[in-house]
């Protein structure tokens, strides 16, 4: 099935922009294979913002990078990634390169190292434009200027080098770069890590505004749950390479179904809530070893509510309306551990 060339006219909402089925990623670089992602399903509609949370090593960045096949050669990816109906895991490299940036772009973390230090910012923004569209250098430069403008960076900065900008400005430039070819999807990988709180708020507000204005879908990856509540409609929580909970962000954080989500949201104290100040927060135990396959729930060793039936057999995602959680304590349609 051939997909429409980008930029495509916006279609109606029946076909989801992104459908991921049973995505699994295994790294074969060391002596033992590392199962970084173990079967993830997700659906993203046009204009929808989806956040992925979890601690380091949970697989969230791997999932995001695998969508555009940006993982290193030692990574083996299986499953289906249907972007606008087209399976990207099955597509030729030529097709992938055409899809990259023009249909789906990435805002990487650590803007200073994600940009070429000896190229001007304007050249780096213009580069994908010149690659994917038939425009002149002058037109591409002009678009770079207006993109800088739209992210709040003075357009004369188009001739600056990355090291000449502040951290916040660099992150804005990364966003301008991501929007250069009018993509339908933007993947933001920890866009605000290493920024101070004030700048972080500005960047998040900017990102939210931009994607909403242009009807762009967003996948945001972070370990900071509070960030997700501001920017995302829905959230998925990952643990040991699997999604353990999904649902609308406010509900997931306000009333978590999975004990891991509960621990995550407890780790970040809520302003004005005296209980969270006294609760210890934080998780006991070590992060899971991704080289082994788990019998039962991978969170069992650290779960405060663990039971015998947690340790054996597959623990599937159980749906509750528009929410789902992979926990034995979640009955169909009824409340979670707190109910």
């Amino acid at each position: 099935m051939s997909a429409a060339p980008s930029p495509a006219p916006r279609r109606s909402d029946e076909v989801p922009l992104l459908e991921v089925r049973d995505l699994a990623v295994t790294y074969h670089s060391q002596k033992e294979p590392v199962y970084a992602v173990r079967g993830v399903d997700l659906t993203l509609r046009r204009g929808e913002t989806f956040g992925m949370a979890g601690e380091s090593g949970s697989g969230k960045t791997t999932v995001a990078m695998s969508l555009l096949r940006l993982l290193p050669a030692q990574a083996e990816t299986t499953g289906r990634v249907l972007f606008d109906g087209e399976d990207l895991l099955d597509a030729s490299w030529g097709r992938i390169r055409a899809v990259r940036w023009a249909d789906a772009s990435v805002v990487f973390q650590g803007a200073m190292s994600a940009m070429n230090p000896v190229q001007t910012v304007g050249a780096q923004i213009a580069e994908p434009i010149l690659l994917h569209e038939k425009v002149t250098e002058r037109e591409a430069q002009a678009r770079a200027r207006s993109l800088l403008d739209s992210v709040g960076v003075p357009s004369r900065r188009v001739n600056s080098y990355p090291h000449e900008l502040s951290g916040g400005q660099r992150q804005r430039v990364m966003m301008a770069m991501a929007l250069a070819c009018d993509p339908q999807l933007v993947i933001a990988d920890e866009p605000t890590t290493a920024l101070d709180v004030i700048v972080q708020a500005q960047i998040l507000a900017l990102l939210t505004d931009l994607v909403r204005e242009r009807g762009i879908s967003l996948i945001m990856i972070t370990h900071d749950l509070s960030v997700l509540t501001q920017t995302c409609d829905r959230i998925g929580v990952m643990y040991a390479g699997k999604l353990v909970e999904t649902g609308p962000s406010l509900e997931v954080i306000g009333a978590p179904l999975h004990p891991y989500t509960h621990a995550l949201s407890g780790a970040f104290p809520t302003l004005g809530d005296p209980r969270s100040r006294r609760a210890p927060g934080g998780l006991a135990g070590d992060p899971p070893d991704l080289r082994q396959t788990f019998d039962g729930c991978p969170f069992a060793p650290r779960c405060p509510l663990v039971q015998d039936r947690c340790r054996h057999g597959e623990i599937p995602l159980v749906s509750q309306g528009n929410r789902a959680a992979a926990c034995v304590l979640v009955p169909d349609g009824e409340g979670g551990p707190h109910a």
């Binding site: 390169r97 190292s113 709040g152 500005q202």
Partner: protein, 350 residues
């Protein structure tokens, strides 16, 4: 147009303005000053070495020739040896700066004119060797660095180590005896046995002469390249390895660029930066190699001149060549500093 408040004024965010071009001038002045200082130190060392250390320059000059005492003291006066030390030094500095490097009694010519005669062959040899070494070094280095630990990488390392572990002149001798003598086994003399040109091939830039010089240039050039190309391989290789691991390459791939394009447009330009400065920084090493190569092949350049000066020994001539070589290295280090700054935008901030 989004309504983002531009809270990030330069004062708040601490961004730096793009450096003005005039930032370069203070840097230039500083480096030029340092180079002048080095040159002055060179003159001090040169003076100390050649005028203070030999017991008596006059007896060195007149060695083997019967000279009366009156002639010797006349010579001493002529050379200014009877003046106080600091006066001699000042005269020396003044002479050097005006291009008067002394007189060679063996050649009956001023040292500076001798040097002027021989500098072109040396430049030709060093220039052609550098160009070939850069090309070879970069070709090997880029590929070795793109796949470190691979066969090309390891074999080029082994070869470089072996070439470093033998004296340059010995390589020259072997090549000469194999290809230039016609006396080994059945190998004919493909290349000349030395010198820079054969008689009667015309002069100047006539095609016959150019071809003849080129033919004479092959063996000396190959010898010199064998010694210096390894440096370029090393620097290019480690540069590539450093750049390969950089995150911005992932960004470039995510934009849809092909692997070769990523390598050519993003990795190589970054990896090239150190190479350019290396060219100038390794002049010192190359001079050593050039001297021995010229001796082996009787290539009529400054190195060969130094060698003949040794045999007498003609101290004035030796001093002249020593000053010239060292001054050249000081100058090249200065150029390297300038280039480094001009090419790498990150360094421009200083």
């Amino acid at each position: 147009m989004s309504n983002v408040l531009q809270l990030e004024s330069p004062a708040v965010s601490g961004a730096h303005e793009a450096p003005e071009r005039s930032d370069f001038l203070p840097y230039l002045a500083r480096k030029a000053g340092a180079a002048c200082m080095s040159f002055f130190m060179l003159l001090v060392v040169g003076f100390a070495l050649f005028n203070l250390m030999p017991a008596d320059p006059v007896s060195a000059l007149t060695r083997g020739r019967p000279t009366s005492d009156a002639q010797m003291s006349h010579l001493r006066h002529e050379l200014g040896l009877d003046q106080p030390l600091w006066e001699r030094f000042l005269t020396y500095v003044g002479h050097t700066l005006t291009g008067n490097l002394g007189y060679s009694y063996e050649y009956h010519q001023s040292v500076s004119s001798l040097i002027a005669d021989r500098i072109w062959p040396t430049l030709l040899l060093m220039g052609s060797s550098t160009l070939i070494s850069i090309w070879l070094g970069m070709w090997l280095g880029i590929r070795a660095g793109w796949r470190p630990g691979g066969t090309l990488d390891r074999s080029s390392t082994a070869v470089s180590l072996a070439l470093w572990s033998v004296p340059t002149f010995w390589l020259g001798l072997i090549l000469l005896v194999l290809f230039g003598s016609g006396s080994v086994g059945g190998v004919p003399a493909i290349f000349p046995a030395g010198g820079m040109q054969t008689e009667g091939t015309g002069g100047g830039w006539s095609p016959g002469h150019v071809a003849d010089v080129g033919w004479h240039l092959v063996l000396p050039c190959v010898t010199l390249v064998a010694v210096i190309f390894a440096q370029y391989v090393t620097i290019m290789r480690s540069s590539m390895i450093d750049e390969r691991g950089n995150p911005y390459l992932l960004t470039a791939r995510a934009k849809g660029l092909r692997d070769e394009v990523v390598r050519r447009h993003h990795v190589v330009p970054n990896a090239l930066l150190p190479v350019v400065t290396v060219i100038f920084l390794q002049i010192g090493t190359m001079i050593g190699g050039a001297i021995t190569v010229e001796v082996v092949y009787s290539w009529p350049g400054l190195g060969y001149l130094t060698f003949t000066a040794l045999r007498i020994p003609d101290l004035q001539l030796l001093e002249g060549t020593f000053i010239i070589f060292s001054a050249a290295v000081i100058f090249c280090n200065f150029i390297a500093d300038l280039l480094y700054r001009a090419l790498d935008p990150r360094v421009r901030r200083q």
